[in-house]
Amino acid sequence: MAPRFFPERWRNGGWPAGKAFAFIGGVFGSIFLALLIWLAADQRVVLERSQRLLDKTVPSTLEQFRLARNVEQLRLEGERVLSGPTPVARQQALFIVSLLASHPALLADARAAALAHEVEAFLARAARADSKVDDSAEWATLSNRLSLLADDVSIDGVNLATDDLRQMAATMASSRVRLAIVLAVVAAFVGAILFLIHRYLIRPLQAMDEALSALRSGQASKPFATALMREIGAVEGAIGELREAMHEKEQAARQLLLLATIDDLTGMFNRRHFMALADEEIKRAQRYDRPICVAMADLDFFKQINDNYGHAVGDLVLQSVAQVIEKTLRQSDWVCRYGGEEFAFLFPETGVEEAHRLADRLCQRVARNPLELANDVCLPITLSLGLADVGSASLAAALRRADTALYEAKRQGRNRVAIAPLATAAADPASSSVEPQPPAAGPDPPARSRP
């Protein structure tokens, strides 16, 4: 659920992908900018300290080293004042002592200035020709103090640079930690973006691809989950509508197919569909020289039933007989409502004898299943059936022979099966395609004048 501060349409209708990613990018950009500023603060400190090291500390350190060298030179010149071989040499050394004691760098350092002045005064006294004082002990002390001062000044210079470098190292260490944090944030953002892209773009696209593939293959696809991205949701909605439209079209096509092939009263194949299927099956059987039989059946006294009880009862009789036929026939046998109360059968892979037994059983079961009407009237139903071996004949010829046999069964007293004699070349021209005409609804067709 989107937070409350997002627009209402975002919370209810999904997020616009462009704005959502722009929002995420903006949030990350702000965070990244803040981190950069945070990181830049360290960089600035490092730059300032390095600049200070360059501009102040290093010159100051060099100054300290130079001061230490001057202090040491002051000590050496002092040695020359005391040990000079000639008065001129001693005077020359004393001049240099005075010069060094007046060095601005020494004057700027209180310790060095005081000690240098003390040394200069001592050496000036010692250098006087009339000096009779043994000054070796005092000079040893002063010389030692000068050496220690030179060491101290040198160490001070080193410490100046060391302090700055230590501070810079600490800042660099801090900067390294901050940089690691920034990199971690960037990595987390990239990971989050990849996750979001996979979760809200790639996966929905994969689901769409699967849905479209399912539509192509005619399979029912699963409905989409609610998409977070508005654009993805729109495409998913369009695919859903397409799927619904295709489903409706498929249902309509299936319904049309049923209407085109099924008799709506009995649920059997209609005559046209049966003829098409039977023709193919007969050709297959003839190609492989397999036995196959056809049969024509007609309900006995159906016209009287219609006349006496009405067409509604007649329809019930037809439905009842259709159920018996469906239960009696094998799965491989085909049957259709040929027209009115007449049915046509095809028995693939079945010889005449076996078809005869099957037809007899069917007649018996029909006869054993009278139709019980509402007023305790039990309406007996019987079926006459003519059977013919197809052999090498055409479907139409075979049905005509079966129809002839059906008449024979009627003539012999109904509720029985009559087998058509085997076809002869004269009686069964293969080229004949005239099939027996189905009876009109209601009574037996007058042209056939069945008994």
């Binding site: 130079r66 060298r69 001057n70 030179q73 001129v88 040499a89 005077q91 020359q92 001049f95 240099i96 005075s98 010069l99 060094l100 004691a101 007046s102 060095h103 601005p104 760098a105 004057l107 700027a108 200035a113 002045h117 200069e120 000036a124």
Partner: protein
């Protein structure tokens, strides 16, 4: 195409000619060899070392900025007016940087550092010892004749305190002339740049003035020493500064100093 090439060549030639046309008049404060009364001149005078050093630095600077330099050696006091009047472009005179001078000329980055100190013969200094005891300094000096280089910072300071300390200020053109004033008893004390005085003192002389009191950089009497330049030529100042910085970086300046002075004073 050929016309374009000729134009480019002409432009390059003009530019090169312009670059080579940089000519500088360089003034270096002269010195005179001190000769103490009654004594022969020093055999190997050091007083010209500072002049020689300044000349060496000037030559190296001119070489680095690709300038043709003409050298002259006027009195110290004549250099700043010469730069103001565009007679000179560079002035070497161990100039301390003061607000008064900066109003007249510009200064380069620092060359070396200077301090000042009193000089006097010991018996004379004893006569002027501070009544309250302690070391004699220029601030404690009273009722004395003090010599200094005219137009120098030391001279300016003495002038500023002359009335309050009842000092008689004597001006001379060079350090050596100031020391001659001491020898000739025309002055009781000399207030001089320590390095200049050191170079002017003759250690072979039987009688030489001594440094009195501590060295000082206070009151503008010490500090960094610079080259004087015209105020209105910032480009020249930056060019000279860049040359000096390069000399410090590659050690040329330090080697020049060591060639003339056996001690570090920069």
């Amino acid at each position: 195409m050929a016309r374009t090439l000729r134009a480019l060549c002409c432009a390059a030639a003009i530019w090169a000619g312009g670059a080579n046309a940089l000519e500088l008049h360089v003034a270096i404060a002269r010195s005179t060899v001190l000769q103490a009364p009654g004594e022969a001149p020093a055999k190997s005078s050091r007083v010209s070392l500072l002049v020689d050093f300044n000349l060496a630095v000037a030559r190296e600077t001119c070489r680095r900025i690709s300038a043709r330099c003409v050298f002259s050696y006027p009195d110290f006091a004549a250099i700043i007016p010469g730069i103001e009047s565009r007679l000179f472009q560079l002035g070497f005179g161990s100039y301390l940087r003061t607000p008064e001078r900066e109003a007249r000329v510009a200064f380069s980055d620092a060359l070396w550092r200077s301090s000042s100190r009193l000089l006097a013969f010991t018996p004379v200094a004893a006569r002027f010892a501070a009544p309250a005891g302690g070391e004699l300094t220029v601030e404690k000096l009273r009722d004395a004749r003090v010599v200094s280089i005219s137009d120098s910072q030391q001279y300016a300071y003495l002038q500023s305190v002359a009335a309050s300390q009842n000092l008689q200020v004597v001006g001379r053109s060079t350090t050596s002339a100031c020391l001659e004033a001491l020898y000739g008893e025309q002055a009781d004390f000399a207030l001089l740049s320590v390095l200049g005085a050191f170079l002017a003192l003759d250690p072979t002389a039987s009688r030489t003035p001594s440094f009195i009191g501590p060295g000082t950089v206070a009151h503008g009497l010490g500090g960094s020493v610079h080259i004087a330049l015209p105020r209105d030529d910032e480009k020249l100042r930056q060019t000279v500064n860049a040359a000096l910085a390069a000399m410090h970086r590659d050690g040329s300046y330090q080697r020049l100093w060591r060639r003339y002075f056996p001690y570090d004073f920069y």
